[in-house]
Chain length 307, copies 2
Amino acid sequence: MPAYAVGHKVPDSDSICSAIALSYLKTTIGEETLPARLGELSPETLFILDKFGFEQPELKMTFADTDGIYVVDHSDRIQGPDDIDDTTVLGIIDHHKLGDITTSTPLECWIRPVGCTNTIIKMMYDFHGVEIPKNIAGAMMCAILSDTVIFKSPTCTTADIKCVEALAEIAGIEDYKALGMEMFTVKSSVEGTPVRELVLRDFKDFKMGDNVIGIGQLEVIDLALFDEMKADLQADIAAVKEEGDRHSVLLLLTDIMKEGSELLVASDDAALVEKAFGKSLVDGKAWLDGVMSRKKQVVPPLQDAFA
Amino acid sequence: MPAYAVGHKVPDSDSICSAIALSYLKTTIGEETLPARLGELSPETLFILDKFGFEQPELKMTFADTDGIYVVDHSDRIQGPDDIDDTTVLGIIDHHKLGDITTSTPLECWIRPVGCTNTIIKMMYDFHGVEIPKNIAGAMMCAILSDTVIFKSPTCTTADIKCVEALAEIAGIEDYKALGMEMFTVKSSVEGTPVRELVLRDFKDFKMGDNVIGIGQLEVIDLALFDEMKADLQADIAAVKEEGDRHSVLLLLTDIMKEGSELLVASDDAALVEKAFGKSLVDGKAWLDGVMSRKKQVVPPLQDAFA
Ligand SMILES: [Mn+2]
Ligand SMILES: [Mn+2]
């Protein structure tokens, strides 16, 4: 039985590309490892896989029948495989706050405060002295451009920028920023997509105190794309909140050119959300100037408010 | 305010030497960091500090007034500073199973399934391209020889052996095995030491289910050293169990030459301990042939038995 590398539920490009890149690395050094995904892929991720000639990783929800898993791009139980206790966590590669996964045996954790898991995977390739194939380098590079919003996110570090430059050279891509914009244009095509699909496209649940808070984010090159559908999005996050017994559901509509986000809120206690961001909601909405990162600018103040 | 590097309660040589080595590395790369200790040092650790000319790290139990902490040689809340929630965990460097420390901000984790935290700290020096001073290399080397029982422990990996060889060269030590035996001879001098001090010398609490299990270990070059005091040790682990509201207290008397351990048990449910090791206790004792590692050979079967 092989091991698997698996990212979080509602997989984003970082989760998928890091599972692919890590599997190749591990297999190359003698530990057979396959990439898996916990859900359907976004148009952005499909664009990356198509661009560099990859198949979609296997859709696989349970891992009891494996030799163990490498958890990538998360360390919260709620975001990972439901049967994580029935397998061995061999390692965690991540760039978020440390979550509540625990193990009963020693493991390998590469966690760094950088903008993207793939920046850390590159360090692992360097550590093991394994050459990164051209197409894997391209996919890793796109994942970093996605997670760092082409370096505009406050989560972006110099390590991420240097890593993109090195990967672009390996992949033979001259204008990586143009490729990044092409990717975000694909990501921005929201018309014709069912509202629920948009709400859940990049959606993560967080445990704060005893509450579950769902936070979705849509990054587009122009916020005006949402003008027609904002009321529908608001109605739908209220529905997602009820269906999942959540305390709150937040949806960030991020304008990557204006560098800020409109926040849509459905909550049992909206005042708590207002307190977290020091902003009044008007019709359940607020503009958060400069806010581009869920991880760095949205989760921590909420966590403080719920503490 | 500086940051601190701090190991587990009842500090062993790995906790102290890795706090010292990490503090030097972090300070060198521009993040002022000081080593701290959560308790009194063992004769073995004092021998190492004396040998390489180090002062004892500051005895410091609370960290709310610091810039944050690097947690070394553990990742279980129960083993670390009691006020961990009042400071920022900047990073974890460890070689045990992943414990229950969580954070609200991204951090740096270097966790590897190797024999000693200092083997990982050496990787960090290499990553940052920082030269290890002679005396720090010597202390790191001794910590690895201690944790791996001069390479005899099943936790020892080729990475640990290579690391010791590299550190011995930096420190200018020709016969590191002789130094290791000298260190274990110091560790073996138990006569004249109060029984309670011996029980707690290398003692860790583990949460298993809802129970607290305390496990101590004494490594000596000859088990006969305990012949006179075994009854007193058994009486005292029973007392430690009661005083700390623990489900069980186990004491491993490890003979590093015979490569096995005598297990002393005080438990609310000794049958569970017998089940864990597949061994009957006679007068609360059992010989476990080949068992040298608490982490790898004692904690996992107990955890399974308590699951
Ligand atoms: Mn990511
Ligand atoms: Mn250790």
